[in-house]
Amino acid sequence: MSINNLVSSLTRLSLIKVPTLIRNVSLNAPMLFRSTPVLLAEPLKKKKKMDPAIIKAREEKKKKKIEKAIRKLEKNARKLKPISECEIPFEILDTLKNRQRNLPGISEEILENRALLEKKWCRYKREQHLVDMQMLDRIQFAQQKALDELRKESEQLYQEAIQPDLMMMPYKIEGPVETPPIENYQSPDGDYNDVSKKW
């Protein structure tokens, strides 16, 4: 143990609290002796010199690993989940010949009637669409008129009225259905088996 260390430990023992790291100039009572504290450190170790070729090889390895993972992910992303309902099972494809109906041909008259019916249907749907559009216009106009009238009465009430209605979301609606619900209907027992495949 060097003398310096010894002195330093002695200063720690002293009752007067003296900040150790401050070296100040004293004007009245002279400070007799001071010492710098021990630095808790050691000289830096010399860095090991690595072969640059090895470092390069390691980096390359890392890179390859990541690239492989990315490729794997991309490959899976491109593969879409099959919809079993949309694919014809092999069982049916194999026996397709047995499954033909071999119906007698459709007569000229029926084909003609069908063509006429299609045209009639088109006209019917078009008229329906036009009527719907006119109806929507009419409803929109009625609302605009109400809002205009409201604005004439009071700007403030108008501003309140054109605020979005947050109660509307989420919007849920059911029906209409084919037959009305039966009151107090007890559905027959049965199990619900979900057989859809997990992906």
Binding site: Q143, A146, M167
Partner: protein, 268 residues
């Protein structure tokens, strides 16, 4: 700096203009004072689908035929054919060496069984008791039609069936008035939903001359809000109300009021 000042000046000028315009508006309204009402058009949507029209039926049948023609036989149909063949062989005294064939319960037997089970289930009738009794107060009437809620109200010295309505108090928005009116007339048992903060229809009428002078109010402006019935059966006592479909509404409402109500309703 100078530019900034100039802009500020411009802004304050605009504000001044705005204030002036608001004032003139206010003057306009004070000259002609109107009572503001909110009314609620409460509608029950159809519960069941309406009957198909002639052409819809025809087209449906056509699509069904087409579907059949383009289809191939199903597994069940194949089984049925095989069963028929096997039975014919057995009848002639032949033998079937295939052990998997089960002729105790043929495809036809299964079909009959399922048909019998399906026939056992009776769906509810589209024509309800309320329809038979012509109960105008029931929500169970005319399931395939839109129904509108109307209340008998006293208007001056007349009593008319109209949409429930209420006068706006100070500090209320029209939507709040509509909500209050709904609650006051049908209570809270019936679940309803008002569509949007904006009114969907408008109607105004002038008061008779003596009331106009007495109260210094020209007339009433009614802003109609649209509401949808969600669920619940109300037990409404003490008020005279009806659930009406479009044609009945046409006969019941007062003529001019009717046209402004019908303007925002969906056709049937």
């Amino acid at each position: 700096m100078l530019k900034n000042h100039f802009q500020l000046l411009k802004q304050s000028c605009n504000q001044l203009k705005h204030v002036v315009s608001v004032r003139t508006q206010a003057q306009n309204t004070t000259n002609q004072k109107w009572d503001l009402f909110s009314a609620v058009c409460l509608e029950r949507k159809p519960v069941v689908t309406p009957a198909l029209t002639e052409i819809e039926k025809e087209y449906k049948q056509y699509l069904k035929d087409l579907e059949f023609e383009l289809s191939v036989k199903s597994n069940f149909e194949l089984r049925h054919e095989a069963d028929v063949k096997h039975l014919a062989v057995l009848k002639e005294g032949g033998e079937i060496d295939d052990t998997e064939v089960n002729l105790k319960q043929t495809a036809q037997d299964l079909k009959d069984l399922w048909n019998a089970e399906a026939a056992e289930f009776k769906p509810a009738d589209k024509i309800t008791d309320a329809d038979k009794k012509n109960d105008l107060k029931s929500l169970n009437r005319k399931l395939d039609k839109h129904l509108i809620f109307v209340v008998n109200q006293k208007l001056g010295d007349k009593k008319l069936y109209m949409l429930p309505q209420g006068l706006r108090q100070d500090g209320e928005t029209l939507r709040q008035v509509a909500e209050r009116v709904l609650k006051e007339t049908i209570g809270s048992e019936l679940k309803t939903q008002i569509y949007s903060n904006a009114p969907c229809g408008f109607y105004k009428y002038k008061y008779p001359a003596n009331i106009q002078q007495e109260r210094n109010v020209v007339g009433a402006k009614i802003f109609i809000y649209f509401a949808r019935y969600l669920k619940g059966q109300p037990s409404l006592k003490g008020i005279d109300y009806k659930w009406l479909d479009r044609t009945e509404l046409d006969k019941t409402l007062p003529p001019q009021y009717k046209s402004s109500v019908q303007q925002f309703l969906i056709d049937e």
